[in-house]
Assembly symmetry: C2
Homo-oligomer: 191 residues x 2
DNA sequence: CGACACATGTAACACGTTACATGATTTG
DNA sequence: CAAATCATGTAACGTGTTACATGTGTCG
């Protein structure tokens, strides 16, 4: 529901038309998440269906169709800003699921998975840092988003390191079974 | 694609039936993300459609329909584990979008938004910590997921604090305009 | 017997996403 | 003139999600 609410929030600043909404959404989030124009129109149609926005007449001379936010829409935005994002609202964390399953899937070298991810995360962390250095002090919105991603990436690296050390501890207690089949389960492991 | 890949990974451990997949998925991720049974069946149908799994005959005496992973499916799982989760793969960060938009939406008190979120995040951080204390040392998968969420929540709090101090700095330089309209644009702001 | 867990499945819808079609206007 | 940008829109599909229908077995 990010786009839906995002567009609605932009419409609270005043009447907008579709194409404009796309560029404003992208610039407001530092072009971090590119937005296909088509999606603006589908989303606007859904917002209209739900009575949160309303087109103002037909297309103007330049072919622009302007939308207005309704009172219902305004209430929706207010409630969006007033309500914190809960843990349960968020989509499932694909990386966490991947590692949790890698842990107990035979034939998968979880240490390798962790290492590969760590490298990738570190690289994107560098990219983000480079972007931040290049970013001006003026674009607060972009800095906000950039830093959100930096903090997340840092946390991810820390978590991966934490996983690795835990795995190392486990490995010492219970030697790795990955490639070399454990005698008692050799038949099962074979493919 | 988390569920899709998750179920596929479970099927790589051996033949499974739908109901079983749900409980294994939930226990493998510490019941963090409850999974509607119906979704297992829709996902299985899609996996079958794409040739990644294959039902083994009809339902057995207990009405169970067992599924097997195919070679294509096995390749898909391997590629899933081998490929890191990139930044661009992730869904848009709703919280980041919200704050970025709150920053420039007139009439929205962004400091309040940050504070509300901070409180909520802190509370869920406490819940998670409590869960971790209660969790046994044995369930590695759950610990993994739990700690992922803890690290994320901690990062979120740090980020929110960072935002707040930046806002405080901005506020000192450029007093808040929220309710009082800026003279030169008063007409536009009026509704 | 009634409630509950086990077990499968379908219909309907939400949002997000892309590819495509169409046309006006600007600009090198 | 050709290419790019501006501008709208639709069709089609993907995953995720819920609500519902259906039936068996078990246990207090």
């Amino acid at each position: 529901m990010s786009i839906r609410h995002g567009l609605l929030a932009l419409l609270e600043r005043g009447p907008r038309y579709g194409y404009q909404l796309r560029s404003e959404f992208e610039s407001a989030t530092g072009t971090t998440w590119p937005l296909n124009v088509g999606q603006v129109y589908t989303t606007l149609a859904r917002l209209e269906r739900d009575g949160l926005v309303r087109p103002v007449g037909e297309a103007d001379a330049d072919g622009r169709v302007t939308y207005l936010i309704t009172d219902t829409g305004r209430a929706e935005v207010a409630s969006w800003f007033a309500t914190p994002v809960q843990r349960a609202d968020r989509p499932r964390d694909e990386l966490a699921i991947k590692l949790a399953l890698a842990l107990t899937t035979p034939g998968v070298d979880i240490r390798a998975v962790v290492q590969t991810q760590r490298t990738a995360t570190l690289r994107s962390l560098q990219d983000l840092t480079r972007l931040k250095v290049r970013a001006g002090e003026d674009d607060h919105a972009w800095l906000l988003v950039l830093e959100a991603m930096i903090f997340q990436a840092e946390a991810e690296v820390r978590w991966l390191d934490h996983c690795e050390s835990r795995l190392a501890r486990l490995g010492r207690l219970e030697p790795i079974t990955e490639q070399a089949p454990v005698p008692t389960r050799a038949r099962e492991d074979a493919r």
